[in-house]
Amino acid sequence: MNLEALASCLSTSACAVTQVSTALIIGMLLFMVASGLSLIFGVLGVINFAHGAFYMVGAYFAYAAYQATESFAVAFLAGALGVGLIGILFERFIMSRVYGKDVLMQLLVCYAAILIFDDLVKIIAGPEYKMMGMPEAFALPPLEFGGGFVPAYYVFMILASLAIGIGLWLAIEKTRLGKIVRALAINPPMVSALGINTTMLYAGVFGVGSLLAGIAGALAAPTRTLTPGMGLSILIESFIVTVIGGMGSIVGALIAALLIGFTRAFGAIGFPLFVDGLMFAMMALVLILKPSGLLGREPAR
């Protein structure tokens, strides 16, 4: 425990800026993954344990597209849309068959999906480490803010995630479709009675949730190593985020993701050995005190 170091870091703007940006870098990418997980749970009432695998697939799609075209925009779209499509197919052909069943059934099909995707990636792309590399547009020296440094790409990543998060929130809270989706979360028979095709809607929501995982994968691809099984660690972290923030709450996911980001960024300075323990402790504490999470409501159904 080194609170002195923590205090001295917070008192210099260079250190504070760098560590705050670190928190945002960790937090916002986590938010992208967790928001998809949370959205799917909020509306469909299922936990998509295959979300980490979707993140991995997004990264690989982006990598492949970037290899082929050298364009980051294409890579980004390939990761996002490709995984969105896989999400829809996965919902239609597999997940929809276990709605309303035991949570164990859902857990198992997702486990099967993880095994299959990991192996497919290994077979198709090979087990070697892959790195997409930094696109030309971002190959700049780090930007300086008040003595602290933030790489250009990370500035883009934070802003892009934030914009997507806000867009998602607006779409759910302010549009007609968003209202229908929220209604669907609470009372599906009623929505269906109004003549709305709930089957399509479920598939659509699952697709959007998966799309978010794909976006996270694509955003991570330029700076993180691609390997089969890379989805595991982010699944666990985003799971913690969703539980703390509240299953089904986008804003909750944002708050919890940033909480984890700040814990890790400043924990690295002040109490590096307790960061992991603290994350589990926060999760356990939230579950004991308010099982539905900071901003969650009881699950639908």
């Binding site: 760098t18 870098i25 070697e128 480490y129 790195m131 993180r224 190593t225 089969p228 690295a268 050995l273």
Partner: protein, 419 residues
Amino acid sequence: MSEIKSGIGRRTFIGGAVAGAAVTGFPHIAGAQAKVIKVGMPTILSGRVAILGTSSIPGVQVAFNAINAAGGIDGRKLELVTRDSKGRPDEAAKVTRDLINNDGCEIILDGEASSGSFAVHEVIRDLGVLCLHTNSESSTLTADPKQKVKTAFRCARQGIHDAVAGGSYAAKIAKEKGLKKWMTISPDYAYGRDNTAEFIQYAKVFEPSIEVVDQLWPKLFAPDYTESITKTMQVKPQAVYSALWGGDLVAFIEQSNLYRVFQNTAFFSGGLGDPPILTAIKNLPQGLNTAYRYNKKFPDNPGNEQFNDEYVKLVKHEPTNWGWQNFVAANFVIEALKRTAGKTDGAALASEVSGMQLKTPLGVGGTITMRDTDHTIINYPVAWGKTVSKAPWVVDYVDTEWSKILEIEQQWKKEKGWA
């Protein structure tokens, strides 16, 4: 002890039974089957470190293909049987038993990472077949006399040898460039911690002015190192040592590049020298210091290049450190089988392997020795070099004298109470 002996008796008998079953089950290949000597390899073939297994196997195959093309051991061909332990030590123990008891493997090349290798070690203690650990770098596996198993050997680099070589190399550069303020960033698990502690210990022995100002321990397989990198920027060390390896190291270097960390900080890495890592990194900074893992130009001889080329034909990437270690291990097995004229009894093979001086292009001066006292190899390359931005990626290898390493290793063993 008597149980172990009777165990061997039963095992050989079962090996025969299995061969018999194979004869009745597959009449077409019965002749060939009976003649084959099966060598089993438990290793990791799935998940994040699948490359451990997929790059170990071709190393063995290069050696086996060569001997089989030359007619095998008195006409008996060698066959490699591999099993995925999925990175679980209990599974490693189980598949090793299966390989021996069920598949009729008479020799084990253990391609497990360190925790799995300890599990395999216990199985070998029980079953008494010849086993060469080909990937575990953990010093305790062979250096601690308590762990000793008569028929088990290590054909892989060993932590303490690397530490002495790395420490002396780092000390020399630190002296030249006045690098006093050091920091370490290594993965938080047994290998990362031991490797780092030993490196620093010997760097300080050779250059007492070295001072470690901070040590960071990111999690093993962490995808993101931003918090460690920005922490480094606050501490502003003159040099960084890292025991990160594999995909973790690739991510760490690329992420550090974004912050231009290596512009004014010297970097010493224990794991950067593997060709698949060097080629995965898109912007490899120049002048990073790394331990030798494998390089087709080092040791610089035609035999090594030939090994490299044969290997590339099998898997489309250059050998890893694990690749050459398995190649050499397979050659130890082949040489031992030649000397026993194909007899696969564990004790007989072990007495041949023990102390064997194997002629191999990978050795310093053309030989690698399996030391008889502690069953581990010496005289393999423990050089350090510097990165350049294009192939062969690492140049200017500086070799450390083995006499120096052995002398210090002996002191280290005494300190530990192992010698």
